[in-house]
Symmetry: C2
Subunit: 198 residues, 2 copies
DNA sequence: ATTATAAATACGACCGGTCATCTTGATTTT
DNA sequence: AAAATCAAGATGACCGGTCGTATTTATAAT
């Protein structure tokens, strides 16, 4: 037997490859053929696993955001760190990863928001869900930072989390064309290091 | 005679249509056929005017940003307004326009940065030039606002202009999936209304 | 001024290749 | 044996781009 979970393995590989290809080349720029060739899966199998490219993209989006949320939560659950320090460390890791990736790709969510965020309803909804999930985790962290007295309390944690998420998306775009991490660092320093502080 | 400047008219129409189509459907999502059909121009003519779709996109980018720069400069040159008020009014107009457009499209620069900003060198360069031109105008305005005493001077005008441009790109993405102008307004209130102020 | 020549532009049929999707037959599972 | 699952190729629409040619405009020669 080829293992009872071959299907699950295939799907998992497709989603992994989908994340990296969709991030790099966008929705319309990524062909099924290329994705399938990378994972060595026949075209027919793909349409057994997913109803369409659109549905595939939706699942790729969910698959994409989970590790980021887990990583951020891991920092926030570190008992040695106050919440603001945890968030700062998390973003420092993101920046290091992007530098290691020579500023290629950026964020799948941001890229797809720009490309099809207002033209494909299913993808738009998946993006909305993912962004809000991510925002909620940041909001929880900022809220704790407020209780810990490191972050101002005259602005709501949600408003700050939204601004941070949105600005982060913007600086990721800027990073791509400047091939530089300076925008990323300025974002963190300005918001986390100054504007949000008490 | 069909007018001696038919070629110029055609090119101008193509660029106008290119702005709206590329903004709405992205680079890979916009087909030449659709652009040509909209302006009633044969494909052969297109390739007389432009060497390639890529070159066309580069010219579309330059064509796109000019009105925004002129509009912002017009506000800044209004002798009745201090610079910060002029910038605020400019963004208020942008928000009104986006609301009137039911949050469709967003910014061509941001959309293309995400889609091909790290994969197409010619387009990337055109985007870099356009974004910096735009940033420079904002920087000039913020610099005057510093002299006028309405904006803090412990941060450089360029750094603030960059943060504003980048955050604006991010909130435009968020706007698209939330179908709401709230992110836009929060961006202006937070940065122009609070963080940048003395 | 008129003609001859050249250069530029207009035009759409057409190219190879790629797209997302469907159909069909093989294989596996029950 | 029946049903579900899967693999592989077929399908036609569409992609960006090229081609030869028709037409117009500009230049040169008489």
């Amino acid at each position: 037997m080829v293992s009872r979970t071959q299907k699950q393995t295939n799907i998992s590989n497709l989603l992994d490859q989908g994340v990296s290809l969709l991030t790099d080349k966008g929705y319309h720029g990524s062909g099924l053929k290329e994705i399938l060739a990378a994972v060595q899966i026949p075209k027919g199998s793909f349409y057994n696993y997913f109803d369409s490219k659109e549905v595939f993209a939706v699942e790729v989006i969910q698959h994409y955001i989970e590790p980021f949320i887990r990583q951020l939560e891991a920092h926030l659950q570190n008992p040695d760190l106050d919440a603001l320090t945890a968030i700062n460390q998390y973003f420092a890791e993101l920046i290091a990863a992007l530098e290691g990736n020579v500023f290629k790709g950026g964020c799948l969510l941001g890229n797809l928001m720009g490309e099809v965020g207002d033209s494909d309803e299913a993808i738009s909804q998946a993006l909305r869900v993912a962004v809000r999930q991510y925002r909620d985790v940041l909001q929880t962290g900022l809220s704790r930072a407020q209780q810990e007295g490191t972050v101002r309390t005259d602005k709501s944690a949600q408003e700050m989390a939204d601004l941070l998420v949105n600005t982060w998306q913007g600086v990721l775009l800027r990073m791509k064309i400047e091939q530089s991490s300076i925008p990323l660092k300025q974002c963190c320093e300005s918001l986390l290091g100054e504007y949000f502080r008490v």
